[in-house]
């Protein structure tokens, strides 16, 4: 048999990585409806939004107000993305206990996305991590474009390791290796995770963020599992993409990932069939077909 873990954690990012790419604005009540739906289906970590200037991502303008209306659920982490110190401060004021923050391992991607060089990005994120940790917030520090750059920038695995080492030294609880443009393959996923693990030791968790641009999302997840990853990002319905990266497709669908994992005997705690219904609801709100496979397999079988 393939050596796989008995249990893993999925972070659903549909409401952030997904909705930030959609033209349709979702009200707080609509977002709460999906958050409650995800909770009811057993999703234990939910990235509900980002603290970012509303001018840049208007879909995320209400994240402070959204957190004010969230009810704590035992065993469920509500998390958010922050892009700068101002975001960390807003998250603290909103009572957030877990945050994601990240920089790109591709100089080209970094310049295009944030107008900062890699060195400037590092100088920018260090005080964010320090401030969050000093205030008792759990930090998940991410490396975007870790498996290839959608703009053609080079991404040597050594650079990914170097960023991971910085994060680990600062005390981040989790390092997120992100295939932002969906350019990774099972071998490169396995190699990156293994190399990062060597550099950071066993203390810090590693998670994977996998876009499905080339249809390799679930194969990459399998390679990640074999490399020892126990936390995976996914998005309801396979929502997502990247407004700055041409042809980047959505994340692996949470229901597809959970289904595949359960089939292989890996526990997720997730009711994937319930999520399929929620994904179809999202489809009808957006008025287009989402990439989810299992939602449509169930739909056809019904």
């Amino acid at each position: 048999m393939l050596t796989l873990p008995s249990e893993i954690l999925i972070e659903d990012e549909g409401l952030r990585d997904g909705l930030q790419n959609e033209k349709r604005a979702f009200s707080i009540d609509e977002k709460l409806h999906f958050i409650h739906g995800l909770e009811a289906c057993g999703v234990r970590r939910i990235q509900v939004g980002s603290f970012v200037h509303p001018k840049w991502v208007p879909q995320m303008a209400d994240t402070d107000a959204l957190f004010a209306r969230l009810t704590a659920v035992p065993g469920v982490v509500h998390t958010a993305l922050v892009l700068n110190l101002r975001g960390v401060e807003r998250a603290m004021a909103a009572g957030v206990r877990h945050l994601s923050m990240s920089i790109s391992a591709s100089e080209t991607h970094s310049l295009r996305n944030t107008n900062r060089t890699l060195e400037e990005s590092k100088r920018h994120i260090i005080p964010m991590i320090e401030t969050a940790l000093a205030n008792g917030i759990e930090v998940r520090a991410g490396i975007q474009s870790a498996l290839g750059c959608g703009f053609g920038g080079e991404v040597p695995v050594e650079r990914v390791c170097e960023i991971a080492a910085t994060y680990s030294t600062l005390g981040a609880q989790e390092i997120n290796i992100a295939d932002t443009a969906g350019l990774g393959n099972p071998q490169s996923v396995f190699e990156s995770v293994s190399r990062v693990r060597e550099v950071i030791g066993s203390h810090t968790a590693i998670s994977l963020h996998l876009h499905d641009t080339r249809g390799l999302g679930l194969a990459n997840m399998l390679a990640g599992l074999q490399a020892g990853v126990r936390i995976f990002d996914a998005a309801l319905g396979g929502l997502g993409g990247c407004p700055f990266i041409p042809a980047a497709a959505g994340n692996i669908a949470t229901e597809d990932a959970a289904f595949a994992l359960e089939q292989m005997g890996v526990k997720t705690g997730i009711d994937w069939q319930g999520l399929c219904g929620l994904a179809l609801e999202m489809e009808s709100l957006l008025g287009r077909t989402l990439p989810s496979r299992m939602a449509h397999v169930l739909q056809k079988a019904a």
Copy 2:
């Protein structure tokens, strides 16, 4: 690194498993056009059709005439599917040197598809294999529904092993484990291949036929590679399905499989970009979008 082979063989089945599911009839000239396209892109084994009664599969009625017009290409095997002794005889008359034949491991599937029990199917295929081998034809003997039955029939791995043992004893050169309805997962693929390998020893080749119903086709291929499989079926554009199995999707797309393999450093000899163009040609003939990922990634990037 993941342990992967340095080289594998892909058999393209688009013109048989694919076209038999299409309403549109393809002329011999059209089929030849795609065969020559596949050859030009480096595909080294092509299943060009089946010898089956035209009443059942009219799209395959011209397979004898098609073989008469094929030109031998060094290093390329033109193969076909046969369903009965009459088919073997027709194939022999047409000068075919390599044949696929198979039975289902699911009693339910077998009864629905051929009106034969599993025992009757075995008695039916044995003389087909014997006749082909006695006439110097290479035989690839397949096990349909080996990873699950679309009709809900049970498929214990022991039964798959038992059929494989029969094939191996008869002297078939290759055993094809077919996920006809696309119900397998990486763990079940790995287990089936490993168990069959234990039973048949190292002499006989094992190949995998993977439908992508649940989006796990490429992940299943990865598991197969790790279990030692060196021959994979695929279909141009992701053509295919099964008229007898509800909601079964097409095969993994040859261009997607070849791309993924090349990315992982596994040689296929295939120009996947060339195949993407051929897949788009097939799309426009069929007038619908095919499942191929890389054909559309390239199309968007163009």
